[in-house]
Amino acid sequence: MTYLTFEQVTKTFQSTAGPIEVVAPFDLTVARGELVVFLGPSGCGKTTLMRMVGGLETPSSGRILLEGTPLTRPDHRRGMVFQSYSSFPWLTVAENVAYGMRYRRDLSAGAKADRAQHYLAVVGLSDFASAYPSRISGGMRQRVAIARTLAAGSEILLMDEPFGALDAQRRETLQLELHKLQEEDARTIIFVTHDVEEAAFLADRVILFTRRPARILAEVEVSRRLGSRRTLATRDSQDFFALRTELLAQVRATAVEEAAA
């Protein structure tokens, strides 16, 4: 059975200047445990698609199905990691992670504490458990957000340019960690980025978008070409280089199209 399915999903926003068609009829299936990267020009509707999966927006028409059931309201099975304001400044790192389970009634207090500790360790923040977010680096703050969604038990992680505000070094570290993490407990991840290299390095599959309204321009099966295991060496491989060049060419093509329009 397919896991996550977009069926003819559209989204049109009503604005004072008239309706804005952001997502054109959109179809996609995502397998369980797959890491899909959305790559596309700014303002094409990537965030909107992601928010519809999260239940924060409803499609204007069409449906998004999770294991056959249409998604409507947000719930803990789908967790968001935002680029900014990704953790609560008034809670410590540990409390932020535990917050992921705050509204779950099926876990005892003890189980919640254990899970919080476990996922703190998973993202390597055990030593910073009692620090406040303002006292740790931007990269660590993103790890807090990731640990929170993991602890919440989200099966689908929706990550909207989560590493966009980080410097190259931290970005690379987190990309590697995300990979390791996904290898260990296969969660499904939808990851939005502007960065072609990041897309190529992280993705099992890259979805390239056209300009608004979002349509699929191309799909690239990355894991078929790079394998599913990625290490620092992956970046230096010839396959990676070729893939990156190819993606860049596609992205440039949409940019040229945009300039011409």
Binding site: G55, H76, F82, Y85, P89, S154
Partner: protein, 253 residues
């Protein structure tokens, strides 16, 4: 950081000292009449006499009690109402124009109405102080709610928080630092309305003391009264600032 703060403090004190020295000199040379501008030393003497002979501290206590009573009533109403206005579009749209209108009514203009409604007792004074605070604070609170980052609400929503828990668990702690800051500012405004409230048939309070002194042209006492209000205001403000720094230390890197 601490060093620059200390330097700032020293500079402030020096400037203040210089101003008072110049003022003292002007008065001492007889360039101004004491009835218009008494020397700082005369004001200090008056202040001391008022404390020892005219129970100034008791009056100050009465005033402080009035200000805090009115302020706490205003805050206890403004916080929930402001949060409702800020989080519910219908409530906001319904109340905002009305509150905005009342906010611009000058408090002194409402003195007669207040006397008709509440007589000349304690209620009128509390009402006038409340009037000057509530309508300002409620709009500030509503605005604070608006400024809670959308992301925080959405994090809570995706983790399954119902609407009211989002307000309680996320919006409230997120806005708390600005809320306390706004309360500090409106508390200061409350003190500025004290004189208006206490010249309405009062027989106690700093406003009354100042007003009495004015009737007999005791300018040093008028100024001493004003200074007493200023000092209490300043101390309260600084106290809240210190508490703010302590409570919300998590905001600082």
């Amino acid at each position: 950081m601490a060093a620059t703060r200390r330097t700032d403090l020293v500079i402030g004190l020096i400037a203040c000292g210089a101003l008072f020295a110049a003022w003292e000199l002007v008065a001492w040379l007889g360039l101004t009449s004491p009835r218009f501008l008494p020397a700082p030393s005369q004001i200090l003497v008056a202040l001391w006499r008022m404390i020892t002979e005219q129970s100034l501290l008791w009056h100050a206590g009465v005033s402080t009690l009035r200000v805090w009573t009115a302020f706490l009533i205003a805050a206890a109403m403004a916080v929930p109402i402001g949060i409702m206005m800020g989080s519910n579009r219908i409530v906001g749209a319904a109340l905002e124009p009305l509150i905005d209108f009342i906010r611009y009514l000058p408090v002194p203009a409402l003195v007669p109405l207040s006397i008709i409604w509440f007589g000349v007792g304690e209620e009128t004074k509390i009402f006038l102080l409340w009037l000057g605070t509530f309508f300002q604070l409620v709009l500030l609170v509503a605005d604070d709610v608006h400024r809670v980052p959308q992301e925080y609400h959405e994090i809570a929503a995706t983790l399954g928080a119902p609407g009211w828990r989002r307000l309680l668990d996320v919006a409230l702690p997120a806005m708390l630092p600005t809320l306390v800051d706004n309360m500090r500012i409106t508390l200061g405004w409350c003190w500025t309305y004290l004189i208006i409230a206490e010249i309405v048939a009062a027989d106690s309070g700093l406003g009354f003391v100042i007003w009495q002194a004015r009737r007999y042209f005791k300018t040093p006492e008028v100024m001493a009264g004003v200074i007493a209000i200023g000092v209490i205001g300043l101390l309260t403000d600084q106290l809240v600032r210190v508490l703010h720094r302590r409570w919300f230390s998590y905001l600082r890197p």
